[in-house]
């Protein structure tokens, strides 16, 4: 394996880890506030669908992103109602949300596009052209035809070339790392990476973070201090929805061009696994999702990884994140202790 191959694999790992990282941080907010969320998968899927749909109908990926966030937030609201307001079982609610998303996306997709549950490919072309025309006509009445065309021909996130990427390309080692690995990603990749220190800061340095962590450890302490447990938990579930929205939107409008049925393919659960791996900490989330992204990148590149006499089938690589998580859960490698009040609806008591 030469340097270039390694760079390519790492580059691919960065792309693949981005939805995992966003979803993992989403789960982090929710679970640190004491609301378990196994519905990350469903929220991502819903966001992927709504973002791709709106991007296809408007030709504008930013509107798509907003739609993705809204789609995910709707399911967050359901989860909040079930697990906060009505004190239901958070795990069951999560299961329901996953199915709701799996069913609704195909149902609505078929109704809107008639393509068997997928959206059109988000590349400028005849197919998209026809779909976006009504919106473009409407928009040109407001902002003028030229701007309207610009705004409706950006159906997916493109890669951003960072400053000096081309200039530095030929510098040995650092050059390719900067140009290949660090530069040339969609904006959401950078957003995801920035979310890590931001989350750390928010949790550890702000009033909101203190209260959020407290409500996941002992909601009674927060309640008796005169702070609303309900509002805090809704806020956490809401942030979770926004981040899942980003993750889903990235999947459908960044990583690939358009939505296909069940496109999350278990990523929500890998994110959940990464969260456990990370012991519910933001920097840990970065490490864990990078590891799982790397595994996926390797499995994609080498369907049969040959290590000397042993051939490792790709299925094993795909299952590795889950296997590793089970090992972590079993406590053989560093015990993962979840937030103390996690999974329990808060009921006031004397």
């Amino acid at each position: 394996m030469d340097f270039n191959t390694i760079l390519q694999i790492l580059d691919s790992a960065v792309r693949l880890m981005t939805p995992l990282l966003l979803a993992c941080l989403a789960g982090l907010y929710s679970e640190r506030a004491g609301v378990f969320d196994i519905g990350l998968e469903g929220k991502m899927l819903m966001a992927a669908f709504t973002s791709a749909t709106v991007a296809a109908l408007t030709g504008n990926v930013w509107l798509g992103l907003c739609a993705g966030i809204i789609g995910s937030l709707m399911l967050s609201l359901v989860h909040g109602l079930a697990s906060i307001t009505f004190r239901g079982n958070q795990l069951i609610s999560g299961v329901a949300i996953n199915f709701l998303a799996a069913g609704l996306t195909v149902l609505l997709g078929q109704k809107i596009f008639g393509l068997g549950g997928r959206t059109p490919t988000l590349n400028p072309g005849a197919e998209l052209e026809a779909l976006t025309t009504p919106f473009r006509d409407w928009l040109s009445g407001i902002v003028g035809p030229d701007l309207a065309v610009t705004l409706t021909t950006m159906p997916r996130f493109t890669e951003i070339r960072l400053p000096f990427a081309d200039a530095l390309r030929d510098v040995p080692v650092i050059g390719p790392i900067y140009a290949e690995l660090i530069s040339d990603h969609s904006i959401l990749v950078y957003v995801a990476f920035l979310c890590v220190p931001a989350t750390w800061w928010l949790l550890n340095r702000t009033r909101f973070g203190l209260r959020l962590r407290a409500v996941g450890e002992n909601p009674a302490a927060v309640d008796t201090a005169g702070v609303s447990v309900t509002r805090l938990r809704y806020a956490a579930v809401g942030i979770c929805g926004v981040l899942c929205g980003l993750a889903g939107a990235y999947l459908a409008t960044g990583l690939s061009a358009g939505f296909v049925k069940d496109m999350t393919a278990g990523r929500g659960f890998i994110a959940l696994a990464a969260l456990i791996f990370a012991k519910w900490r933001p920097w840990g989330a970065l490490g864990a999702t990078f590891l799982f992204g790397l595994l996926e990148a390797i499995a994609n590149r080498y369907p049969n990884l040959e290590l000397g006499p042993i051939t490792i089938p790709s299925m094993f690589m795909n299952a590795l994140p889950y296997i590793l998580t089970v090992i972590i859960l079993a406590g053989f490698v560093g015990r993962a202790i979840p937030p103390r009040a996690g999974g329990e609806p808060y009921v006031k008591e004397r």
Binding site: L107, K111, F316
Partner: protein, 365 residues
């Protein structure tokens, strides 16, 4: 005092939840521009209007009884077994190995062997999460989810690299020998000269599923083990006080649960496909969650809920065939049922409790 009369708890609450789920499903159908009434008619005709429909409905029902019972048994021990999908998949592998590699003289013997294989493989797949929960405190919901994915990878590997016949491109095992083919219910009727459900997959496994309901009822409410399972499910400290070993009960309950989920394979793998294909479970493991929730973890409730979902599945297939409503409508309905009977249970229950408490206070006054 109990807050509500028993019938409200056992019958009225799930019925209201179900109606809510149905109402929202109807709205969804309206939203995609179809008529809910027409959809319902298509479903009823397709699933229950002919012996052909019934043949499929009962086939699906059989699957769901097994996975529903699996979730229900675990639930009595306060364990949420979300791994039915993986356990049923492994059960399929067990059935395939038993059918392919052992020469069976007659289907009855093959069925017994396959049941053992299915239950053993399903139970084995539940064993690891169980032992991890019991001994290391790893959350069983998370481990069983992980095991679903590991099972999918394992089955994928087994079918692509191992059981796939030479020369076949299809990731599936070879066809099982004819001596292992189970009699269809249509065959049984045909013996008596009645034409019923020809070319439908419902088979003798349905009767085994009914027996399983009885067995689970006896287990939970009549045996010492069931008593221990229920006590442990209500309070672990109390169980330890009473000399009931949490480790033993967790492991045994999950073995039974995994075994029941695995048993589903004698229906879909042995009874219907007669070979092991990729993704043979088709989500039945997850439907088991909805079935158990709706059936209040009681075998009779599970049977009724499984019948309802069998109807939904067959009806949903018919919908996709005759209307432009995709099959996925069923997944939405399933999600809504889980949501209302499981997660939003209190939304229905709290007003009812208030109503009945107020009424009792009034009566007393």
């Amino acid at each position: 005092m109990d807050k509500m009369p028993k019938w409200v708890d056992v019958i009225l609450t799930p019925v209201i939840s179900l109606l809510l789920a149905a109402a929202i499903s109807a709205l969804v159908i309206l939203a995609i521009g179809e008529s809910p009434w027409e959809a319902l008619k298509t479903m009823v005709t397709g699933a229950l209007g002919s012996s052909y429909g019934w043949g499929f409905t009962l086939y699906y029902t059989t699957n769901f009884i097994f996975t529903g019972l699996a979730v229900a048994v675990a639930y009595h021990a306060a364990l949420f077994n979300i791994g039915g999908e993986g356990q049923a998949g492994l059960g399929g592998l067990g059935v395939a190995l038993v059918c392919l590699f052992i020469p069976w003289p007659h289907w009855t013997l093959a069925l017994l062997g396959a049941m053992l294989g299915a239950a053993a493989f399903g139970a084995a797949w539940a064993y690891i999460p169980a032992i991890l929960q019991a001994k290391r405190g790893s959350h069983i919901v998370i481990t069983t989810i992980m095991f679903n994915f590991i099972a999918a990878a394992l089955l994928n590997w087994a079918l692509v690299r191992w059981l796939r016949p030479v020369g076949s491109m299809d990731p599936a095992s070879a066809n099982f020998p004819p001596s292992t083919h189970l009699p269809k219910i249509s065959d049984i009727f045909a013996r008596f000269g009645i034409e019923w459900g020809t070319h439908t997959p419902a088979n003798v496994t349905f009767l085994i599923a009914l027996l399983a309901c009885v067995a689970v009822w006896l287990l939970i409410w009549r045996t010492r083990l069931g008593y221990e399972i229920r006590a442990f499910g209500k309070s672990e400290t109390a169980a330890r006080y009473a000399g009931i070993s949490p480790v033993r009960i967790t492991v045994i309950t999950m073995l039974i649960s995994g075994g029941l989920a695995g048993l589903m394979a004698i229906n879909n793998v042995m009874g219907e496909a007669e070979r092991l294909v990729l993704n043979s479970v088709e989500g039945a493991g997850f439907i088991g969650i909805a079935v158990a929730l709706m059936g209040r973890n009681h075998p009779v409730g599970v049977l009724l809920a499984a019948l309802l979902f069998g109807f939904l599945y067959q009806g949903g297939g018919e919908l996709a065939l005759w209307t432009s409503i995709p099959r996925e409508l069923i997944i939405v309905i399933q999600a809504l049922v889980i949501l209302f009977t499981g997660a939003l249970d209190n939304m229905v229950r709290m007003p009812l409790e208030r109503f009945f408490t107020a009424r009792r206070l009034r009566n007393r006054a």
